[in-house]
């Protein structure tokens, strides 16, 4: 099959270029296998991966215009286009720079917890939120959702995007978190999201149901007096 790669070395190239590689296909081949084969047999392609199991989040790429995790995505025996994940600075070929997004997510995920948890507190848990916490745990921070989000694309500084909003939702549900996650959600663009559900469509973790969490946050925000703005 022919695969067109969008390649770019900012230190060497004036602009991204296309390279077409002929790659042998086999049954149940993955996008990652195709990239690796092209790198070994066609020309050097910079790409990143680690776990091959959709938990490290490092192998996000665009396949035919859609963001995917290369490691677990099957590739069909036809022509394809593989490009770096959209919306982030390209470091080299398919490797993009997620460090700013990750630093921000790490800060939001860090629990606000003023005193050490005691054994009694640890063993007290709101089971109503248990399933949602359990689901969001699986987020690999791959940023595939944020890459496809139309609200984030239209207002990159107005809506932080689903991956980061998941961090807020996680600690919103966490019974041990003392932060004001409702205010955080509103400030980060809770009402700018258009609830289209594309994030859930592309998310490699079947457990994560983004809109359920956004609805919970919206209800909490409305109850707190941060209702949906009239002009949104």
């Amino acid at each position: 099959m022919n695969i067109t790669f969008k390649l770019y070395d900012p230190a060497m190239d004036a602009a991204p270029r296309e390279a077409v590689c002929e790659v042998e296909h086999w049954d149940k081949m993955t996008v990652l296998e195709a990239i690796s084969a092209a790198n070994e047999n066609c020309e050097p392609i910079a790409f990143d991966y680690s776990c091959r199991g959709r938990v490290c989040g490092r192998c996000s790429v665009m396949l035919d215009g859609q963001p995917v995790l290369a490691c677990i995505t099957a590739i069909t025996d036809e022509s394809h286009k593989i490009e770096p994940l959209a919306g982030l600075p390209v470091l080299h070929d398919l490797i993009v720079d997620k460090s700013q997004a990750h630093a921000r997510m790490a800060t939001k995920y860090a629990r606000v917890q003023p005193v050490a948890l005691t054994p009694e507190v640890i063993n007290t848990y709101d089971m109503a939120a248990a399933e949602k916490i359990n689901a969001i745990e699986w987020c690999a921070r791959c940023l595939v959702c944020t890459s496809v989000c139309p609200a984030h694309a239209a207002a990159p500084d107005g809506y932080v995007g689903p991956a980061s909003m998941l961090a807020t939702a996680y600690r919103f549900y966490d019974p041990f978190d003392q932060g004001d996650r409702v205010v955080e959600a509103v400030q980060e663009g809770l009402w700018t999201c258009i609830m289209c559900g594309k994030c859930t469509e592309v998310c490699p973790q079947a457990e994560i149901k983004h809109l359920d969490y956004w609805n919970d946050l919206r209800a909490a925000a409305t109850a707190r007096g941060f209702a949906e703005p009239a002009d949104s």
């Binding site: 991966y49 199991g53 490092r58 990750h102 860090a110 063993n123 248990a130 921070r141």
Partner: protein, 623 residues
């Protein structure tokens, strides 16, 4: 506060006169010495006359690098490093953590996966633990456990931001493993611990930096140096104490399209372990590994714990041979009980059956998932892959037996350390998973990394109390390393081999003999092949593109030298150990031989560069 010094073409003689090195670096700034050009000076082929050692033309390169100064340097960002870092940030010393991957943390701990965190509930239980008895460095282990400030593991985890999401109906924490001598909690996702650490003002975290060499002056480790991958810039982390916590190298074992036969990460290539070895620190436990069974098809997700389906000892009944017959039908009740708590026994029992010809063509076994109760008993992290197989690959795991194979998720291979976690041969270097802390169990465990990480920092702090920095630093090793790295990048060869090709030869050689079944003919053939790769293939390894920018070929080329050393050490240590111990079966020596082999095997670099193997015994502790 600027703790960086920028050095360009560092030259200590600059202030006292124009040395050759200063001349060569000066370029246009030294227009006044153009007259010397006629004397045949050029940028290659000069032997430095200022008394430093350097290679031929390579030493004449301008070594551009940035120096970062820190009291404590932590190499790696995984479980051991996290524990070391959490301890270090309490100390008031400057702490820098350097990791090879993105996200600030990589390797096994860089994956957001469902870890079962285990711990020993009370030090009284320690002598009863099977794994403790298998350690070789028991002095370090005893001290580490007795002084562990994180003995309340659940409290520690929860206060790092973990939520313990798997609960009983009444909301209490559900322990996955609950015995007097061992407790375990599922659902510990490492990123929570990382996120909290990353907020601390008391630590600087540099990611996407591959450290390739230790900085050594007069036999003392003064930090480490390497490449910032996105830019190709060289960095030196000058440290008074260095804590190596970089994780084990399962990546040598085998190759299947995009992965070794390992759940581990391409990040873990033993770079600083081998750097230490080159500086005289022996490596121990190279022959040992830990293995799990995991699906091997589709090939793109082969041996990947997080997308695969595995068979633990719990699933022993559903393991089939190549003809579809139950593999362990003859297991007695004693055997079945032992499968649960003695993983080496479980692996070796299977290995014996495979050795008898009952395995698949690729040396694996089959697992039958047609019974609903099998799937119902799966851990959540396996069960969630059932839909992945169906939705992404059209495979219904309940209607056909799946092939599973052994993957090496842990590997020994680490510098030998004393009871204070330090290399005696390279003082200043502390190793969280130093040889002997897990011994024949092969590698280490999440919990042990946690115990030893904290202990390594405390030992390093003790060392710092008595430490005084040298009066001058000899930076020549930095120029040497710069030259070595850039020679690798710019090398040309008419019949060159790209680094992935060389890497796979190493991995394929190990595939034949570093699994759960190891025999002499395969080991000897692999040793010969590795020797051939060293003399024939490595010298003509050429990177496909010369760029400095996140150059994955260059990265792999550098790593390949270290992969080869670990591979050879592992193969030859196995050959030396003429018995069966640990998780593999030595086919030609199927019994354990405590009389001759109740010891560690350590490998040192001899004067001529070859490997020298020796037995090393360590004291057995009492409580």
């Amino acid at each position: 506060m600027d703790d960086k010094e920028i050095r360009v073409g560092h030259d200590q003689e600059e202030s006292v006169g124009l040395s050759r090195r200063a001349f060569l670096k000066g370029g246009g700034a030294l227009a006044g010495v153009a007259m010397l050009a006629g004397a045949g000076l050029g940028l290659t082929g000069c032997a430095p006359e200022d008394g430093t050692e350097g290679g031929d033309g390579a030493a004449a390169l301008d070594a551009h690098y940035t120096v970062y100064d820190t009291d404590l340097l932590i190499i790696g960002g995984g479980f051991g490093a996290l524990s070391a870092a959490y301890q270090a940030i309490k100390s008031g010393k400057t702490v820098t953590l350097v990791d090879k991957g993105p996200y600030g943390f990589s390797g096994g701990c860089g994956m957001n996966w469902d870890v079962i965190y285990t711990w020993c509930p009370s030090v009284d239980m320690l002598p009863k633990q099977a794994t403790f008895k298998r350690l070789t460095n028991q002095e370090a282990a005893k001290e580490a456990y007795l002084t562990d400030p994180n003995a309340d593991a659940l409290g520690m985890l929860m206060n790092q931001g973990q939520t313990a999401p798997r609960r009983n109906e009444d909301g209490t924490v559900k322990l996955t493993i609950d015995y007097p001598q061992i407790k375990g909690l599922e659902g510990c996702f490492p990123r929570h611990s990382q996120d909290k650490l990353a907020q601390s003002q008391m630590i600087t975290i540099h990611d996407r930096v591959m450290l390739t060499e230790v900085l050594v002056n007069d036999g003392v480790c003064l930090g480490a140096m390497g490449v910032h991958l996105p830019s190709g810039e060289m960095r030196v982390y000058r440290a008074n104490a260095t804590i190596l916590a970089a994780g084990s190298n399962g990546w040598v074992y085998g190759w299947s399209t995009v992965a070794a036969h390992s759940f581990g990460s391409p990040d873990n290539t033993s770079d600083i372990e081998v750097a230490a070895y080159r500086h005289g620190a022996p490596l121990g436990d190279c022959e040992y590994g830990s293995y799990d069974l995991i699906t091997t098809y589709p090939t793109g997700i082969a041996y990947a714990f997080n997308s695969g389906l595995g068979a633990d000892a719990n699933e022993w009944e559903y393991i089939l041979d190549k003809d579809g017959k139950k593999m362990l039908a003859n297991a007695t009740q004693d055997d079945i009980d032992r499968f649960q708590y003695d993983r080496p026994f479980f692996n070796q029992t299977l290995a014996k059956e495979i050795a008898a010809g009952r395995g698949t063509a690729s040396g694996g076994v089959l697992i039958d998932l047609s019974a609903p109760e099998t799937v119902a008993s799966f851990r959540e992290c396996y069960a969630r892959s059932i839909d992945l197989f169906k939705d992404n690959f059209g495979i219904d795991v309940t209607t056909q037996p799946l092939e599973i194979g052994f993957e090496m998720y842990e590997h020994g291979g680490a510098p030998v350390i004393d009871k204070k976690m330090m290399s005696a041969e390279l003082p200043g270097l502390f190793c969280v998973r130093g040889a002997g802390v897990y011994g024949e169990s092969g590698g280490t465990s999440v919990n042990m990394n946690n115990v030893f990480g904290s202990y390594a920092t405390r030992c390093a702090l003790e060392y710092l109390n008595g430490f005084s920095a040298p009066e001058t630093i000899d930076w020549a090793p930095v120029a040497d390393e710069y030259a070595r790295l850039h020679e690798l990048r710019t090398r040309e060869a008419s019949d060159g081999l790209r680094p992935p090709a060389v890497r796979q030869k190493i991995q394929k050689a190990c595939e034949t003999c570093l699994g759960v079944l190891r025999d002499k003919p395969a080991l000897e053939a692999a040793a010969a092949e590795l020797a051939r790769i060293r003399t024939e293939d490595l010298p003509k390894m050429v990177v496909g593109a010369k760029t400095m920018t996140y150059n994955m070929d260059w990265k792999q080329a550098i790593e390949n030298y270290n992969m080869l050393e670990i591979a050879e050490a592992s193969v030859r240590a196995t050959l030396m150990r003429e018995e069966t111990r640990g998780q593999y079966l030595r086919v030609d020596f199927p019994e354990k031989d405590d009389t001759n082999w109740n010891c560690m095997i350590a490998v040192s670099r001899a004067e001529d560069g070859s490997m020298a193997f020796a037995k090393r015994e360590m004291p057995v502790v009492t409580f």
